[in-house]
Symmetry: C2
Subunit: 401 residues, 2 copies
C-alpha cells in the first residue's frame, strides 16, 4: 500500500497544463491565466482629485482667502487651462487636477458665493491629490500567470484595459461508469440494479474544479464495449473511470483498455474509504480509475482528481486546501490507513470551527456523505484526539463538492 | 448613518426568491433547490452483499463446512433461487443476497475447489449484509428545499432517481455603470477618463454568487439616457448601479430613474470604504446603488449584493460567511464606522489562519484590493488588537470574489 501523498505526487507529476486560449473578459471569471496580465495604461492616468472640492495653488489657499472660480471640471471633463494666482477650479472625485494647482480643498471647507470661493481651511501641497500611477503604471504586472481569476482580478484586468485574456483551456475530463448493474436516473433499472450516482457526482466535481466534464454512456461489463472507450476519449485530457465492481474492481477496464494501449499502474492506497486506485496513460490521455463505491469515489476524487484538474488547469500542484477545526466529539487512534471522517461543521460561540464526525462512517451511505460539510483528516497511526482537540479538515462545503 | 447590519436587513427583507424552473441533473450543480428532493427508490433496493464472497445460511457456515456452490451472482445479475441447507452462492459487492441466505462469508475466508466452498471462518447472521434501505428509503427527503447543490448532492439526487430537478431561476442582475469619464476595456478612452472596472468586476461577482449578470451599456451623465434604463431592466430581478461620481454620487441616477417610478432610500452607511448606498424598488425590480469607487463598490457588493443574490436565489438571509484568523500585525482602535481591512491570509505552522492587513488601506488602490485574500472586519468602536489577536474575516478567496 502506498501513502495518499505519494500517490497524489505521482499523479500530479505526470500531468501538464492545457494550452492557452483567448476568452472575453466577461467570460474569464474562474479561469486560470496562461500569461501575466500587464497593465496597458497608468492608473490614475494623471494626477486626480480624491475628493469633491476645489483645485488650488496651496500658497494661495490660506485661511480666509477668496479665490476666483475660473473653471468647472467634472470627472471626464478636464479643465485644460492653468490655474493662476488667486484662481481656483471646481472639481470632483476623479477629476484631473489642472496645471498650476497643487492641492485640493474639499467642498465642506469652502464657502461659495457666485464665482468666489472662500477658503475656510488651508491645504498643504499635495493634499487630496492622487498621483498619476498611484494604483499602477503602464507595463506593471497586474496578475501573474497561473492564477484563477476572481471578481476582483476581473476588475483589475478591466482597469488595465484588457478586453480579452489568455487563459488555460478548461481540462476536458471524460467520465466513464462501468457495470451491468447500473442505470442512469430515469432510465429502466435492471433487476438488482441501482441508479448510477458516480457519473454525475463526478461531473459536478469536475465543474466545481473548473474542468469540462464529458459523461460517456454507461458501459456494460463487456470487453468489446470497454475497448471502444479508447476511441471515445480522443481530445480528452483525462479519462476517469469508476467501478466494474461486479467482476472485481478495475479488472475489466484494465484488461480491455490495456489491449488498446493503456499503460497503467494499479495501486493499493493506504486510505479509507476507497483503497484501490488505477492511474496511467493512454497515449496523450491521462487515466484515473476510482473505486466504484460512491462514497469512496467521491473521497478519492477530492484527494486525487481535484488536484489533478488544478494542475491541468495551470495551477500549482497542491493537495486540497485544509483548515483547522476543533473536534466536536472524541476520535479513536487510527490504524495504518489515512482516514477521512465525514463530519458536520458548526461555529463555536467564539467563532472557531467545530468538526463533528458522524458516529457511523459507513462507506455505503451516500446520504451521510452528502450531509457532511467536511472531511476530518486522520493520518496513519494518528493518536486518539479528545473533543476540543485540533484536527485538519478539508471543507467540502466551500469547494462546491 | 445606519449600521451595516441594519442596511443589509432592510435590503434582504425587501427581496423574494425567484420562481422555480426545471433543469437537467447534469446542469444542476451550484443551483438552489426549489422543492425538497424525495427519493424515488430504496437504496440498497434489496439486501445486498457488502463484500466479495459467498452467501450462506449462517447455521450451515460453521468452521470447516463444505458447501456446494449452486449459483453465481455478479452485481446486476441476481440469483433468483433459494439457498438450501448445505448450499452457497458466489456473489460480489453489491450483489443481491439470495433468498434463504442470511450471511456473507468473505472470499478470503473460503477455500474454493470446483463446486465446493470450504468455510475457514464462521459467519453470524447478518454478517456483511447491507439491509435494503440502509442508505435511504423510497419517499425519504434526500435534500431540503433552499439548498445550493454541491457535487455530492448531485450524486444523491441521481441515486434517488431524479433526471430533473426543480431549482430557483438564477437571479438576473442588471449592472449599470454611469459616468462621462468611463470607457469599456479596449474602447477609446475619453480625455481624463478611465476604463470601467466596476461593470465586469460586479458581473463576475454576480456569477460567483450564482446569479446571471446582464451588463448594460455605460450611460453618460445625461438625464434622458439614464431614464431609458427603466425600460432596459424589464425582466430583471435587480438593477445594480455604480458611480455617477462626476455630478455627485447617485444624484443623477436617483433623479432620472425617480421620474420613471423609482422609489428609493438613500443611506449613509457607517462603514469604510464605501459610505453612500442607495436602495429601492422600480416596480418589480429591486435597485441597489453602489459607490463609484471600485474598491468601495466591491466591498459594498460583498456585504450587500452577495447576500441579496442569495436571498433571490432561494437561500436563507445571512451575512457573508466569516471565519476567525489571528492578526499578523497590530490594528488600531476603530472609530464609529465599521472598517473592512484588505488583508492577506497565510497559514501558521500550527495550521491556523493569519490575516495581515495591508499597511495602506487606500480605497483608490484596486490592485491592493485584488491582492487581498480577505477582509478583516473591524466593528464600530472596536478596541485596538495586537498581532496574534483573533478577528473575524470574510474570505474573499474561497468565495471567488
Amino acid at each position: 500500500m502506498i501513502p495518499v501523498a505519494d500517490a497524489r505526487a505521482r499523479i500530479l507529476a505526470a500531468l501538464r497544463p492545457t494550452a492557452a486560449e483567448i476568452v472575453p473578459l466577461a467570460e474569464a471569471w474562474g479561469r486560470v491565466t496562461a500569461a501575466p496580465v500587464l497593465s496597458r495604461l497608468t492608473q490614475p492616468p494623471r494626477d486626480v482629485s480624491a475628493m469633491d472640492g476645489y483645485a488650488v495653488r496651496a500658497q494661495d489657499a490660506m485661511l480666509g482667502a477668496a479665490l476666483r472660480v475660473v473653471g468647472n471640471a467634472p470627472a471626464g471633463h478636464p479643465w485644460e487651462g492653468t490655474v493662476q494666482p488667486g484662481e481656483t477650479v471646481r472639481l470632483f472625485t476623479g477629476s484631473v487636477v489642472p496645471a498650476g494647482a497643487d492641492a485640493i480643498v474639499i467642498q465642506e471647507d469652502v464657502t461659495r458665493a457666485g464665482a468666489v470661493a472662500t477658503i475656510n481651511e488651508a491645504a498643504g501641497v499635495g493634499r487630496h491629490i492622487r498621483r498619476a500611477g498611484q494604483d499602477f503604471a503602464c507595463g506593471d504586472v497586474l496578475l501573474p500567470a497561473g492564477k484563477r481569476l476572481n471578481a476582483r482580478d476581473i476588475g483589475l484586468a478591466a482597469a488595465g484595459n484588457h478586453p480579452w485574456l489568455a487563459v488555460h483551456r478548461r481540462p476536458r475530463i471524460a467520465i466513464l461508469a462501468t457495470g451491468d448493474e447500473i442505470a442512469l436516473p430515469g432510465e429502466p433499472i435492471p433487476a438488482g440494479g441501482i441508479v448510477s450516482s458516480n457519473s454525475h457526482a463526478l461531473a459536478a466535481l469536475v465543474r466545481a474544479a473548473g474542468g469540462e466534464p464529458v459523461v460517456l454512456p454507461v458501459v456494460a461489463d463487456n470487453r468489446e464495449a470497454v475497448m471502444a472507450v479508447a476511441d471515445a476519449v480522443h481530445g480528452m485530457d483525462m479519462l476517469v473511470t469508476t467501478g466494474g465492481a461486479s467482476v472485481g474492481e478495475h479488472d475489466l477496464v484494465q484488461e480491455a483498455l490495456g489491449a488498446r494501449g493503456l499503460q497503467v499502474d494499479f495501486w493499493q492506497i493506504a486510505m479509507r474509504p476507497g483503497k484501490p486506485l488505477m492511474f496511467g496513460q493512454m497515449g496523450p490521455v491521462a487515466m484515473l480509475g476510482l473505486p466504484g463505491n460512491p462514497v469512496s469515489a467521491l473521497v478519492c476524487a477530492t484527494l486525487f482528481l481535484l488536484p489533478a484538474i488544478q494542475v491541468l488547469s495551470g495551477l500549482p500542484a497542491a493537495p486540497p486546501p485544509t483548515v483547522q477545526a476543533r473536534l466536536g466529539s472524541d476520535v479513536a487512534a487510527n490504524d495504518k490507513r489515512a482516514d477521512h471522517l465525514r463530519a458536520t461543521l458548526t461555529l463555536a460561540e467564539d467563532g472557531s470551527l467545530i468538526a463533528t464526525p458522524f458516529p457511523r462512517q459507513d462507506s455505503a451511505m451516500l446520504r451521510l456523505m452528502a450531509q457532511a460539510d467536511a472531511l476530518v483528516l486522520r493520518p496513519p497511526y494518528a493518536a486518539a484526539v479528545a473533543a476540543g482537540g485540533l484536527v485538519d479538515v478539508i471543507r467540502l462545503d466551500t469547494l462546491g463538492l
